[in-house]
Every structure is written in C-alpha cells, then in structure tokens.
Symmetry: C2
Subunit: 274 residues, 2 copies
C-alpha cells in the first residue's frame, strides 16, 4: 500500500450528527488521520424507514464519501449498518466497517449471566441483525430487544433528565428488569447521552454497553492489518458535510467534536435509481 | 375552462401521511373529485429542517403532482406552507392552496378575548408565518406560540393517552394557561389526534382549532370561482404515492381514509439542484 493511499482521509457517515460520537472515538484512537464526516440531516431519521430506502440512502452516502477520496468507510449509524452493511461491502472499493460487530463484541464481553438487553430504532430492532449476530457468536445467549423510537426526539429536545424522559424510559426498560438482564446494549449512536438516567432506572447491576469505543478500536486493527494507517506527525482534522445545514445541527456538531473541525459544508448527494 | 380540465385530479402533498386528514375533508366537501396524494415518507419529518431544504422538498413534491396532471395543489403540511407557499404559487402553473390561511381564519373566528395560542413544529413556529398573518389580519391579537417537537413522535408511537404524553403536554401547554388564551390553533396535521388529551389539560374554556376542515372549504370556494369543479356523478377515488413504503405508513393511510383509496404506489421524485 503506497503512502499516498495512507494520507487519504477516513470516511464516516450517519443519518445525522449522532455518529460524531463514533468519529470522536476514532480521532482519539488514530489522532493523525484526516476525516470526512457526512451527516444526511436532510433525510434523517433512518430508524423508522424501510430497508430498501435505508439501503439506497446508505449507498448514496457512501458514493459521496468515495467522491471525497476516502480510504475506508465507517457506517456510524446502527440502522444503516443493520440493513446495508453487506451491500456496501460488496459495492465499495474500500474497506467498510459498521458499528454492529463492535457493539456485539462489547456486549458479549460484558455479560456474566448470558442475558442481554438491546434497545435501538424500529428499523435496527426489526432487522434482527444484532440478535442474529449475537446468537451466531454465542448460541446460548438470551436476548431481549425493544424498539425505543421516542428516545432520539427526547434527546434532540434536550430533555436528558426530564420527568417525561424518565417516564418513557421506565416503560421501555421495564421488561429488561423483569427478564433479569445484566447488560444493556445501546444500539443507537444517540443513546449514550441518556446513560445517567438509564443507569438510575436499571441500577448498578446492569452494565451499559455502546459501540463507539469498540468500533474505533476495530477500525484501527483493520487499518493496521492492511497497512493503511496515516503516518504523518500532525494531528488530523475533520471536514463535516451536512445535507441540511441548520444552526441546531451545527452547534450540536461543534459540541460533540470541539476543536477538531476544519469546516462544515453543504453536501449534495447524487441519487441512485430505485 | 374546459370540462377536460375539470376532470383532472386534485393534488395534495405532505411530508407523511398526516396530510390525509386534510384530503379526507376535501373528499367530504367535494366527493366527485379524483385525488392524487403524495406523502414524502422517505424524507419526513420536514418540521425540524431548514427553510431552504423544506422549499426544495416542496418544489420536488409539487413537480411530482404536476407530472400526474393535477389541476390544483393543496399543501397539507404546515411547515411546507410556512416556508414554501409563495415560491410554489410563483412556480406552479395551477392554483396552490396552503393550510395557513384556513387555520388563521378559523382561529380568528374562534377567539373572543383576542388571546391565541399556537403549537406546531420547530420550523412552523420559527418561520413566524402564522404569527405574521394573524397580526396582519387582526393587529391587536395577542399570540403565544410554542414549538412542540415531541408530539409527532408520541402520536406515531401510538401513545395518544399515555401518562408520558400527558406529562409532555402539561409542560408544553403550561404557558397557554398562564397567558389566558381562549383558543389554541393546532398548526400541524397530526395534532387533531391529541384533541381529547389537550382538552383535558386546557379545560373547556379553550377552543381547539385545526385547519383541515376550513382548508377544504377554502379549496372548494376557489375551485368554484375558477369554474374548475368536477361535474361527474360518480364518487372520486384517491391514488396515494409514498416515497418510502412501510407497513406502518400504509396501514395508517388506510385508517385515515378507509374506502377511498384506489391504490398505494411508490413515488420517485426528481431532484432539483440547490
């Protein structure tokens, strides 16, 4: 692999800005890498949409990153990973890494009683992608999954500790307490922001696992294996592209990755026929 | 105006299927009309997105309806009305009617003390479109507006009477009670589904006004003035197009307009450059 190749940026995409939590972990693990981040804010959310539509959006997102010359693509969106990872890996000429493997690995390492809880969008849970991969790697695992579609809107309203958020979470999390899970996998990039209130409901006996940290480690391992790590000395920067630019998205982005952004620009995606 | 023209369908669009509440009222007022309904379910919601993006989406939606040969276009989405009605009226070669005028008229007829409340999406409220039109028609009116972004997700979760929905509404509606409004304008096509719980919080002294009924009357008046009403005897039917087809959207559509749907099909929109 030529060093020219290594200088190319890493590409990361998500339906919105939540995937920047994954990009932030990548920047911590591999600080010399340049990054191009695409948030498809004009069409978010992906979590309530059909598999075909999510696959088409994911391909268009990946096409955009390829047009920016990326050397690898990280799918920092659980719904897109669940529905589109295989087709992206087939169609893209660079390595494509999703958040699923990392989350599954972290959850299996965490559980002691073999009883796992999983929360995510309607699409992620209905796809069964997490449930199947957990069972494949650990056939005796017991998985309790629940779609929790109100959490992203509550987070975006900023109600991280509001009584209504607690009431919603109590209803969503009730079955996990009844089923005696000891680990809850947060299968959506937004959910880590609710860790304190989720912990207060589930108690200290339940570990909360999310995939952003393990995804970054997974990516670094793959980049090292393929000899694709950037070797410059200077710290890398991040170019953020959004399909819809609002003040809200931009300020949230600056809040998640302060000091690492070179610029935030508008992105025009090229449609794929469907 | 030739009778050929009159046989053309009416076009209605919304970001999703909520606008079918408006289409249903139009079918009641003008039962002989054929209708083409477009729900941009692949890109919903519009309420949190920027004015430029909402305008582009609205133009693409209207282009699609024009390609189906409609004789008039109803914008059954408050956010699209608030941001895009003037540009649609300039660019489309047929009459374009929004939900704003109808809602404003109904609210001004309802209030006795001149103190109005308004709830809608972030986009609708921030656009000031309703507030400006209310003030223009009735300069002494006092308007209290609040964006209520959690209501659509709660409705879509089916929690119409859930304790969490009541808690969210109590917080959202508090200021209307303090400010002594006697009429609340529901400036989003989804909100009429929450009328019972909103009434239970605000009490009988506050009238709830929505724009679907008055919008249909407004449309009929314009169609009559322009001599564009369909004169066939048979009852008209509705062709529904969705940019993303999920079971959830289709069953919700059948629930809102039972017995009036000819078919539900996928729609591919043509992108406008931005």
């Amino acid at each position: 692999m030529s060093s020219e190749k290594n200088k190319a940026p890493l590409g990361v995409f998500d339906s919105g800005v939540g995937g920047l939590t994954v990009a932030r972990e990548i920047a911590r693990e591999m600080p010399c890498e340049e990054m191009v981040y695409l948030g498809d804010t004009a069409r978010l959310p992906y979590g309530s949409k059909s598999p075909d539509t999510v696959r088409r959006f994911a391909l268009e997102d990946a096409d955009f990153l390829m047009s920016r010359g990326v050397k690898a693509i990280v799918v920092a969106c659980n719904t897109a990973t669940a529905f589109a990872l295989p087709i992206l890996q087939r169609e893209m000429p660079v390595p494509v890494i999703g958040v699923l493997d990392a989350g599954v690995e972290a959850a299996l390492q965490s559980t002691r009683n073999g009883r796992l809880g999983l929360i995510g969008t309607v699409g992620t849970v209905a796809s069964q992608a997490y449930q199947k991969e957990l069972k494949r790697r650990s056939p005796n695992i017991h998985v309790v999954a629940r779609a929790t579609p109100l959490l992203v809107p509550l987070i975006e309203e900023g109600w991280l500790d509001h009584p209504a958020t607690k009431l919603v979470l109590k209803e969503y999390l009730e079955s996990f307490l009844e089923q005696d899970v000891d680990t809850l996998l947060l299968a959506c990039t937004h959910y880590p922001l609710l860790k304190p209130v989720i912990s207060s409901i589930l108690g200290e006996g339940v570990s909360l696992v999310d995939s952003s940290t393990t995804c970054a480690l997974h990516l670094r391992r793959i980049m090292e294996e393929k000899n694709m790590v950037a070797t410059r000395v200077a710290r890398g920067k991040m170019d953020i592209y959004l399909t819809d630019q609002t003040e809200n998205f931009e300020s949230l982005a600056r809040c998640i990755v302060p000091g690492e952004i070179r610029k935030i620009s508008a992105a025009a995606l090229v449609s794929r026929a469907f």
